[in-house]
Point group: C2
């Protein structure tokens, strides 16, 4: 019973999964969508800052869009002229989708600008109606359920990654596929962390959401009886939540921040959406699956949202 039975393997059991593996699944679907459409959809990106990271993201979006078959135009404008430029693009029938490279002013005015983008062209899915639908677990724009609501692209990318990783159980009914899963999210921004917590809880998970203001638990109650999530302030340490969690998602914009590896549950799924590496390489001694960055999936979701916006518009015209 001893001998080779106790032999120890050398490499950690954890496996790295690259965003590109997930993205390519959707690229095929998107290309087919463009083919069916019979024309190149046009996406306009607005750059009104000199942030090199924003510029890089813009270049990257442009490259990916063109490779996939979209017409991408980067419009560089002065920040004081951005609102007018957005109005113009909203009115222009040749423009299918619009996105803004933030930060512009770097304060609440940016949230105002985001709402200036017509909801019919908002590829990032940040218009108030979309976010409100997300929080209320309302998945369609119309009562006939023909037009799906748009999801914010980074939370959506994380959902698609969790689907790919087998965290969503496809045998469960749509809307309940995270039932039984516990998730820790380190980030509660209005753009990603908070909508993500709501989205995953609406799909059935118990979510611990951490930020500097404290911890909140998002869930649908015992036996996921509630139709949508509820939120409660809770007292739980990060290490304790981590030990309970099947999934850990980080988005801390700091190079010095590292998630404590020792508190990760053996065999967990770890995903980082920050541009900084929030997990130490030792993560693979604990995690079964580790996704170091998600950017490529996010861009794919921008393109997917653009096709959905065009589809929703066609349905609106058809039913008018």
């Amino acid at each position: 019973m001893v001998g080779r039975s106790d032999s120890v393997t050398e490499a950690p059991a954890g496996k790295t999964v690259l965003a590109s593996s997930v993205a390519k699944i959707y690229t095929g679907e998107i290309k087919k969508g463009i083919e069916a459409l019979g024309r190149k959809p046009k996406l306009v990106g607005f750059l009104a800052n000199t942030d090199p990271a924003a510029r890089m993201y813009a270049d990257w979006t442009g490259k990916t869009c063109q490779e996939t078959g979209f017409d991408f135009e980067l419009r560089e404008v002065d920040k004081e002229e951005l609102e007018d430029a957005i109005f113009q693009a909203n009115e222009d029938d040749a423009v299918d989708g619009i996105m803004i490279y933030f930060p512009v002013f770097g304060n609440r005015q940016d949230q105002y600008l985001q709402q200036v983008v017509s909801k019919d062209k908002d590829v990032e899915g940040l218009s108030h109606i979309y976010i409100q639908n997300l929080y209320h677990n309302t998945r369609y724009l119309d009562s006939e359920q023909t037009k799906k609501s748009i999801l914010p692209c980074t939370p959506l990318a994380l959902v698609k990654i969790l689907e790919y990783l087998g965290v969503y159980n496809m045998l469960l009914p749509y809307g309940n596929r995270l039932y039984g899963k516990t998730v820790t999210i380190v980030n509660r921004s209005e753009i990603v962390g908070r909508p993500l917590a709501a989205l995953l809880a609406n799909d059935g998970a118990v979510v611990y959401s951490f930020d500097i203001d404290g911890v909140q638990m998002f869930n649908r109650g015992d036996g996921i009886k509630l139709r949508r999530h509820r939120v409660a302030d809770v007292e739980i340490k990060l290490e304790e939540a981590a030990r309970l969690s099947d999934v850990i998602i980080t988005g801390v914009p700091s190079e010095s921040y590292k998630f404590p590896t020792e508190s990760i549950k053996d065999g967990a799924v770890c995903v980082n959406f920050s541009t900084a590496k929030n997990f130490d390489p030792s993560v693979k001694t604990k995690a079964a699956l580790y996704v170091p960055s998600i950017g490529k999936v996010t861009i794919t979701m921008l393109m997917r949202n653009l096709l959905r916006l065009i589809d929703n518009k066609a349905k609106t015209v058809a039913s008018a």
Copy 2:
């Protein structure tokens, strides 16, 4: 934020999954296997008792075998003549597979009889070499890894059910696909419970195995570093293990036994392999997926094992 947001759904979120849904996946594969073989494989079942349950199981195996394309023959013999009858079937080239409907003597002599069946015809996968391979996480019979070892059919059926239910993560390397999963098994028989615990632990799970003698934990150590499982006696209450478990498997042969529903983790997977119903109908208020019985999958695995035995034999002849 209140109002419809707090509306409560009526039915429990849990979903029942029938063994027939899992079995039919393998029936197709098995039929193709028979087609490729070009002849009807012959399975002989020995019945040497008057137990109505054994008779029913025999009739059911026969019916399923015939529907799927096997030649099934039930041989009813006196228990004192069974050993000779098995010897004869072992030697008969027209017989591909052999199984015995237990109990025969109802004591250790039954284990002796089981070992009388030639390992080359043992569709139940209970020959010592197969069980030893299972415990040692040795998956092939030969060093060239061309002939897969046979797994005992009930534990194998449970593995296939857990694969179907999405508990095995297909993104992880073969052999590690239960990494991160905690399982409670109530039954530690030599035929099902103990080999099952070893099998699931060898695939990466942490398993709590309960029987009247106490609790054992089967696992491959921190970060599944060990090549095969180890076993430790542990002190943990059933309720506590259940609360930690993603999967609960019961096999208590008693109509009065019921697993305590209130200790099942929200969203767990619950599978019963006893002929008695070990879960109360309330299980669906806690479990996400519930499999009430597994018999149909077990029979399918008998047939699958038979094809594998024929395949292994062909490979032995080819390499001789």
